[in-house]
Amino acid sequence: MVEASMWSLVSTIIGGIATLAIFSFLLKENEFYRFFEHIFIGLAAAVLPLLTIRDFLWPKILEPMLGLNVVVYPDGTVSEPYQPLSLLYLLPMAFGCLYYFIYSKRHAWLARLVIGFSLGLSGALAIRGFFAEALPQIVGSFKPLVVFSAEGAINWFESFNNSLFVVTLLLVFNYFFFTFGKEGSIQGKIAPLGRPLLMVCFGAFFGSTVMARLSLLVERIQFIVRDWFSALLQVVG
């Protein structure tokens, strides 16, 4: 048990030093911060590509291609037949390697092939994504301006809410027209009304973001005050 806690002790202490290095930026940009800034960029650059290989390229692409996913039973039969079609993955892999022609002066256009391909791909997906997300949103906006309660009387609170919702939606929607609203047109006159309503929305964002940001600070201080200090005491003690 001692050996395991020694490693986690080292991990916590290094984590505390790294946190204080980043916090030192609050005083001013300094060497201590700059050193850990570069360490952070270096670690990130190593972790990201390897995780893509380890969690996707290897299990889903390379293992089937090399036949390593096939289990050979003691009697010579196999768990699943080798899929020669998986070798077709070599085509997109070769095509994807064209990215690296970015660095060549003469053949940079080859990189444009694969970049264009991914532009076309993300364009097509964005088309489907728009309809899948927008349609329920539009249908959700069909709110009756007058709402009756079960007993048949007008429910004023719901009616007010729905009317305010629809008016706000249309005014803000109207704010984002760019090729209408020539001087003197109605649309041009009511367009500015959208901006104050937007401010209510951004105020709500600011208020809820305060909670988000402070939570991060709380967690860091809790780590320093609780975990790091007790790790230091253990080492010193």
Binding site: H38, F40, P74, G96, Y99, L119, I127, V172, G203, L217
Partner: protein, 361 residues
């Protein structure tokens, strides 16, 4: 338009064709065309193209910071620290991965006993496969032979590890579970061997299914122990320190700066100068008060405190559900339409001049 640009535009079109066809055609047609059945591997193919770009960032860093070191430019020592961190993390991550791959293959060799036994039963029941595989007695003979050799290897491993008394309590529990599973498996295997099963009639199949259960338990116990051992290797420890100790903490620390920055931004910029900033601030304060209404209970303000504790979250809920949702939905729908138009332009390569490549080499 030069041939290269034409080729780029055709490839861009092809990039989007598959997914647009998949979206535009009804499912029934897709099934008839056989697209639906192969959709997963086709999609994986597209993901592979993007995954190949993972080295780009690495090359940029190596070239940029490498040049700084070689030519001893300002800040080269930090660049050296960056590249060392990159190399160490790369090596440790690879070593840890290779170690876990090796142990997962070892685990698979034990697990295949259970898989193979259940496969013998299922193949025997499937008329179409029965004649493509060896006879039941041959297969069971191979199973028993393989099972005995694996059991002997694991018994020897368990006994050697029993001798080393310093292992932790949790590991001892895993070792005990493996020993029990091993003995159970040995009983099942010996029973199968002695019963000389030649065909899988009603009675014999129960013996086999019993062995499958025992082998599966053995596989589970062995994999639990090996996975626990895997976390104790040097490279796993180093990976833990670098990943959890350094990388995770640096990320969390960077993000936490926002906690103090937001305070500075609120103090400096949240000044009521215009109607708009007054509206923005009052909405922000209403939302904040709704999030911390518990404070009114703590300040012992009597009935006012209770009333505020109950009322403020409702006001916040109303502001978020009505004015905010309406305004934000309008932003989202507008941006959605703009995105749709740009998506069509991108797919059809209706590019703006700044991106057109007529003059590019």
């Amino acid at each position: 338009m030069d041939p290269r640009t034409k080729l780029i535009r055709i490839v861009t079109l092809l990039g989007g064709v598959y997914f647009l066809v998949y979206f535009l055609l009804p499912k029934s047609v897709l099934l008839q065309l056989g697209i639906q059945q192969n959709h997963e591997s086709i999609s994986n193919g597209f993901i592979v193209v993007g995954a190949m770009a993972i080295g780009l960032g690495l090359i940029n860093l190596l070239v940029g910071h490498g040049a700084k070191i070689v030519f001893k430019r300002a800040g080269w020592s930090n660049s050296a620290a960056l590249l060392i961190a990159l190399a160490v993390m790369f090596f440790v991550t690879c070593a840890q991965w290779v170690g876990s791959l090796q142990s997962s293959y070892d685990i698979r060799e034990v697990q295949l006993i259970g898989e193979f036994a259940s496969r013998i039963v299922s193949d025997d029941q499937d008329a179409s496969r029965r004649d493509t595989v060896p006879s039941v007695s041959q297969r069971i003979g191979a199973l028993v032979g393989y099972g005995q050799s694996k059991a002997a290897f694991m018994r020897q491993m368990v006994e050697s590890q029993d001798a080393s008394l310093d292992s932790q309590e949790s590991r001892r529990a895993l070792l005990d579970e493996l020993r029990i599973a091993l003995n159970e498996f040995q009983v099942g295997l010996d029973g199968l061997e002695s019963s000389r099963v030649a065909s899988l009639g009603e009675g014999n199949r129960a013996v086999m299914e019993d062995l499958v259960a025992r082998a599966t338990r053995l596989g589970g116990a062995y994999s639990a122990l090996r996975q626990s051992d895997q976390t104790l290797t040097l490279f796993s420890r180093l990976y833990g320190v670098l990943y959890d100790g350094l990388f995770v903490q640096l990320g969390a620390a960077m993000f936490s700066l926002l906690g103090v920055y937001i305070a500075a931004a609120a103090y400096r910029a949240f000044r009521v100068k215009t109607v708009e900033s007054a509206l923005m601030m009052s909405a922000a304060v209403i939302v904040m008060l709704g999030q911390i209404s518990a404070v009114f209970l703590m300040l012992h303000l009597g009935s006012f405190g209770e009333e505020a504790y109950r009322f403020l979250p409702k006001v916040r809920q109303w502001l978020l559900e009505v004015p905010n949702s309406a305004a934000f939905r309008a932003i989202r729908l507008g941006a959605g339409v703009a995105g749709l138009m740009l998506a069509i332009r991108m797919w059809l390569s209706i590019e703006s001049k700044s991106f057109s490549s007529d003059k590019r080499g």
